[in-house]
């Protein structure tokens, strides 16, 4: 009886879709121990089976070159799942079989799921599955995960799993390849060629390729990777995504949410008064928690829409094209087009962005990408930009935000050039990337992705930011001698803020509240807005008049300088932890924080001083 299974296959083979179909809502998303590659587990539950499924990272082979391959190989060797479910992409069947052969060579029980059958049926391709099954001695289940076809057959085959006989021909192959490996005198690439020559024979025997290959992908690429319009189209798509999520959705949701929050905090206040709560408790709840957490949740709709677009681009196959188009640009700074993906994911959150750097092929690209990715403003910095842009440049919010991204981009280019010359002299990068066919994203997958990512955002609002808001409220309610005070200027917080404030004077904002906001921003970037909301909420009377109080504290120039500092300075503590893990070195991590913060300081000083010359 099968109790555990590991799901493996090439990138883009449809593994996620199959995993979702198999495990439904029983999924658990975590990390592999010690590393930050996403680990998903779930349970197959049906009539008479209950199987724990672990989703292994998408890989082309198991030779321990990349972290993903190492994880997969070690999992298969050490955890010994009862069966390996190998997903094959029927549209790239030759390449898919390469991993299958390697897996069979390990001698572990294996079942093959041949996915994308709907696509090849349209092409007119015919596969003799029975012949192949008899040849290889593995069960091959045809599947079209997209339309949920074949999933229950896969489950049936898992519950009745038994190992089959190999054909004599395939036994010979296994024997030969084991001899090669044992003798060790055959180079890695010769062994790979040997595998492919066997695959060629297998395909010619059991597959008749159809003639009706769809040319949709080629047609779409005529535009998206076109010599003249490819790059403008890319820029337009990026612009549209930010315009829609920030301006359009932002305007719709901000009003509604703010009113909801206002009336919620009023009725909660009344309720607390009615039940006779202590006035300090009321102030803690309303001024501390509701204000702090609320100010962050206000941005949830915008961030969800942004996550939605990111997922769509990831799922459709366009992302690989962007790497293709931009490789030439990234090469200049010692990276490859693939570094675009970590950086783009980093525009949602730096943590998965830094994690995504694992898919890069060389150590140097990985290090450099990890150091540079935090320059891409993450979703949590968005509320800060939106708030400041709305306070000072309400007509041009999205332009201001685009400018902040552009400044991040300039920092990346500048730093890349610098590092290429100084730190990573003479390294050669590797760029080798599959361009998968375009596929219409599956809404179910996209929504699950949006849900998982938003959950992190909301969880953070409920935990770190909740605790942070309480702490801020507390620190600003007591004097350094632990005496209650109503005057913020007497509070502990103002002493702390005033202590750091001189550091920021050259940047144009020496207010103690702003300094405190920076400190809390180190815990989580959302805390910057939460802190300003809690602190300014106190000095103002009632209502959410955050924007007014920002206008009172900043000038347009110091607001810009502030935003630039936020855009470039050290990321939050979770991103630092991820960077430490991924760089696997304290030295590099500390170096990258000091570098980022130093650059931020210089840039924002420039903005403030040059800006002040023009605008007085």
């Amino acid at each position: 009886m099968i109790k555990s299974a590991a799901l493996t296959g090439n990138p883009n083979c449809g593994k996620t879709t199959i995993f979702n179909a198999l495990t439904g809502s029983s999924q658990y998303v975590g990390n592999w121990p010690g590393v930050t590659v996403e680990k998903k587990t779930g349970k197959i539950k049906s009539k008479n089976v209950s199987i724990d499924v672990t989703d292994l990272p998408g890989i082309y082979s198991i030779n321990s070159y990349s972290m993903e391959e190492k994880i997969s190989e070690e999992y298969i060797r050490n955890e010994n799942p009862d069966v390996i479910i190998n997903v094959l992409d029927a549209t790239a069947i030759e390449r898919s079989f390469f991993l299958t052969l390697q897996l069979i060579e390990t001698g572990k029980p294996l079942i093959a799921a041949l996915n994308m059958m709907d696509v090849i049926e349209k092409e007119g391709t015919i596969i003799d599955l029975e012949g192949m099954t008899n040849e290889l001695g593995i069960c091959i289940v045809p599947i079209s995960a997209r339309i949920n076809k074949g999933i229950s057959e896969l489950v049936d085959n898992l519950s009745n799993f038994k190992e089959l006989e190999r054909s004599p021909g395939f036994n010979d192959y296994i024997q030969q390849i084991n001899e090669f490996k044992l003798k060790g005198d055959m180079s890695e690439d010769k062994i790979s060629s040997f595998r492919y020559s066997y695959i060629k024979k297998l395909i010619s025997q059991y597959v008749i390729l159809g003639e009706m290959r769809s040319d949709t992908t080629k047609k779409i690429d005529k535009v998206f990777t076109n010599k003249y319009v490819g790059i403008p189209v890319f820029l337009t798509i990026m612009w549209a995504i930010y315009y829609i999520s920030i301006n359009v959705v932002g305007e719709m949701s901000a009003d509604i949410f703010e009113r909801m929050l206002g009336s919620f905090s009023n009725s909660l206040g009344n309720l607390l008064v009615m039940i006779g709560a202590n006035e300090h408790i009321i102030s803690l709840i309303i001024d501390g928690v509701v204000r702090g957490v609320g100010a962050v949740l206000l941005f949830l709709p915008q961030i969800m829409v942004l996550f939605f677009f990111i997922s769509i681009l990831e799922d459709s196959g366009y992302m690989a094209r962007v790497s293709f188009i931009l490789d030439r640009v990234f090469r200049r700074i010692g990276l490859t087009g693939k570094s675009f993906i970590p950086m783009f994911v980093g525009s949602g959150c730096s943590v998965p962005g830094i994690m995504a750097a694992r898919t890069l092929d060389s150590e140097k690209e990985r290090k450099l990408t990890i150091i540079l990715t935090p320059f891409v403003s993450c979703g949590a910095k968005m509320p800060i930009y939106i708030m400041f842009a709305a306070a000072f440049f309400p007509k041009h919010t999205h332009w201001i935000i685009m400018t902040m991204y552009a400044i991040g981009g300039i920092a990346i280019i500048f730093s890349g050039l610098l590092f290429k010359k100084i730190v990573f002299k003479g390294h050669k990068e590797i760029f080798l990337l599959e361009l998968p066919d375009y596929r219409t994203p599956i809404i179910r997958n996209v929504m699950r992705q949006v849900f998982n990512r938003s959950k992190t955002f909301v969880t953070k609002a409920g935990t770190i930011i909740f605790a942070g808001s309480v702490l801020i409220w507390f620190l600003q309610g007591f004097t350094p001698g632990f005496r209650l005070t109503d005057l913020p200027s007497e509070s502990m917080l103002s002493s702390i803020g005033a202590f750091i404030a001189p550091v920021f004077r050259p940047l144009g904002f020496a207010d103690w509240k702003t300094s405190v906001a920076f400190l809390t921003g180190f815990v989580a970037k959302e805390m910057v807005v939460a802190t300003l909301a809690v602190l300014n909420g106190i000095s103002e009377s009632g209502g959410f008049e955050l924007l007014d109080s920002i206008r009172a504290t900043f000038t347009p120039i110091s607001a810009l300088s502030f935003m630039v500092f936020v855009a470039l300075a050290s990321p939050c503590i979770s991103a630092l932890a991820a960077a430490k893990r991924e760089l696997n070195s304290w030295k590099w991590m500390v170096f990258s924080v000091l570098y980022q913060t130093g650059l931020a300081y210089i840039m924002s000083m420039l903005v403030y001083n040059i800006g002040s010359l023009f605008l007085r």
Binding site: Y60, S61, N63, Y65, T91, A92, I93, E94, R95, F98, E188, D189, S192, S193, Y196, S197, L209, T217, K218, D221, T225, N226, K227, Y228, G230, I231, F324, I325, D327, R328, V329, R331, G337, D361, S362, I430, F431, L432, L433, E434, L435, P436
Partner: protein, 73 residues
């Protein structure tokens, strides 16, 4: 000598040898770029580099520096 980088979009050739060393060579063979296999150049990126090829029924891209070292029959 006929190199992969000499082909224009749409043209095909058969791989004779791959004069590349190290990790990238191993990666390439794992992805199915092997001697005797037919490749077709699909296109070049808007900025002239990298190159997209199709091989074994799927598309792959890499840089021209690599394409120059893939010798065709």
């Amino acid at each position: 000598m006929n190199r992969l980088s000499d082909l224009k979009p749409g043209e095909k050739g058969v791989i004779k040898s791959i004069d590349i060393d190290g990790a990238i060579k191993i990666r390439m063979t794992q992805l199915g770029i092997t001697e005797g296999e037919t490749v077709q150049v699909e296109k070049y990126a808007p900025l002239g580099d990298p190159i997209e090829i199709s091989i074994r029924g799927y598309s792959l891209c890499f840089r021209k520096t690599e394409a120059e070292r893939i010798i065709l029959v």
